[in-house]
């Protein structure tokens, strides 16, 4: 059989977001791979420098639907550092809980998607059913199942009442049990192992060279976790450890993620225990932010998320740069699929938990048939208007 060029995307059942991967295959073997991103650019970085700091908070939340809280957290931490505002302790614990809740919901979502990629529909259904527990908790705390709008500049928007705390403890106890069950399934179910062991292998050193982060690099035996490297919020005060695996394959990434769900349950419970009673949850925040530049990193569920913000002293940031974890993991994911089987592409690729809508942030849609620019960001329009 001659070598065949084989596309996955922009529309494909394995990818929930538009992205184009092009593979050259020889029979069932993948000999080359290339990726084309940029299908969902939404001009967020540029738009950020057109809006004030509070508006940007909402904009950043909408970079991604799954890690929305990680984005507001990283953004708020950056701006608070610039403005030198101290966040009340109770708010920090609440932020940390939201951060871990989001990790739980995202990892459960990932587990379902990964099972779906290898045709294990039952695990997919069960994982998503149990994910509803954390979704209910998120809804109870913030009023929303996604885009929680919990983090605000200087603190959090809603407090956690005693009644909520009880329900959270209850829900997390169930969830923790279920996660342990899934850890058991992942390491014992024969067909699951057949599809994950030795699939999508990248060594730890190579991961590090390629700048991979999050569960991908941790599943290859390296311990890069922003929560440990640059402790933020109150991660110094709770007991937890960086989960790593030496397996370097999809199974390793599964184990790390499921383990992190269990850890996240424990961290959240510790937050409830350590949280000071009552008190402020939101500090007063100035409208204008002093001149300066700052970077802020958080460990989003997919890996390290970094914001770089520069302020010119006005109420509008001069530049907001966002680098999402998926972009950092893409070079490693390409290495995962080359040399593997076609059948392993979806699961190997899914094992980095890709999120392309986060990765692309600026869009100018072109109407390909006519070559005309159809939609433009406001900034583009202004620019175009000036040029005429």
């Amino acid at each position: 059989m001659p070598k065949l060029s084989f596309p996955i995307g922009p529309q494909h059942p394995a990818l929930k977001e538009p992205e184009n991967l092009r593979f050259t295959v020889d029979g069932e073997l993948v000999v080359d791979a290339d990726i084309r991103i940029g299908y969902v650019h939404r001009s967020i970085e540029r738009s950020c420098s057109e809006r004030n700091y509070v508006q940007d908070l909402y904009l950043c939340e909408r970079v991604c639907g799954i890690c929305s809280n990680a984005h507001t957290l990283a953004y708020s931490m950056a701006i608070e550092k610039l403005a030198d505002v101290e966040v009340p302790e109770r708010a920090q614990y609440i932020r940390m809980m939201m951060h871990e809740f989001e990790r739980i919901h995202s990892h459960m979502l990932w587990l379902g998607v990964a099972a779906h990629e290898i045709g294990f529909e039952t695990l997919f259904m069960y994982a998503w059913r149990d994910r509803e527990i954390i979704q209910d908790i998120l809804e109870m705390v913030s009023g929303n199942r996604g885009h929680y709008a919990m983090t605000t500049l200087g603190g959090v928007r809603y407090d956690i009442t005693d009644e909520m705390a009880g329900k959270i403890r209850e829900g997390l106890a169930t969830l923790r049990q279920r996660a342990e069950h899934y850890a058991d399934i992942a390491t014992t179910e024969a067909t699951f192992l057949k599809r994950t062991v030795g699939v999508g292998v990248v060594s730890g050193d190579r991961c590090q060279q390629l700048g991979a982060c999050g569960p991908v690099v941790r599943a290859s035996g390296k311990d890069y976790d922003v929560r440990a490297y640059f402790p933020y919020l109150k991660y110094d005060n709770v007991e937890w450890e960086v989960r790593t695996s030496e397996l370097c394959d999809v199974l390793g990434r599964t184990i790390v993620r499921v383990q992190e769900v269990i850890d996240a349950c424990d961290i959240s419970i510790q937050c409830l225990d350590l949280m000071p009673e009552g008190g402020e949850i939101q500090a007063k925040f100035p409208r204008k932010v002093p001149e300066g530049e700052v970077t802020s990193r958080v460990e989003a569920q997919r890996g390290e998320l970094i914001y770089y913000v520069r302020s010119d002293g006005s109420d509008v940031p001069e530049r907001v740069k966002i680098r999402t974890p998926t972009l950092a993991n893409l070079p490693a994911s390409i290495e995962m699929v080359i040399g593997g089987q076609i059948a392993d592409i979806p699961i190997a690729f899914a094992s980095i938990d890709p999120c392309f809508s986060c990765t692309d942030r600026m869009v100018v849609l072109d109407d390909i048939s006519t070559g005309d620019r159809r939609t433009m960001s406001w900034a583009e329009l202004v620019k175009l208007g000036k040029r005429k």
């Binding site: 970094i306 600026m362 100018v364």
Partner: protein, 155 residues
Amino acid sequence: MTASELVEQIQSEYEGELTEAEARSDVDAWVGVPPADVQQMARYIMETWAPVHLSTISGVDNGREIEVLYHFATEGVSLNLRAAVPKGDDRIDTITPIVPAAILYEREIMDMFGVEIVGHPDPRRLILPEDWPEGDYPLRRDDVLEEEEGEEDNA
């Protein structure tokens, strides 16, 4: 290691020109080099504190020049390296051969700011569509410069 120790080490060991070297907190180190020296500095960083994680490369158009910022992370220190590329001669050497992680970030810089990354192994577009007009860079703010010049003319 703290940021100030790292900055001191750079100042004493690194044999090249530094445009800035400052520890702004315990974890934030800011270092600047002329654009021509970026490979030398990247090599020095990668060899001195290995393993070093390159978090990303940011670009900032400040009107006169395009600042290319390399955000590195080592154990406990966030090391930010700045190289300001003057507009008109917007070229900078690639660091991909030294830091493989830079490959996509450099393509993003090329797409968004039109800075030519000299020697990049794969200088195709990353984010912009194929039929995007040449010479039009979304995050480049040439209009700011034009405005300022215009104001000066009026004055």
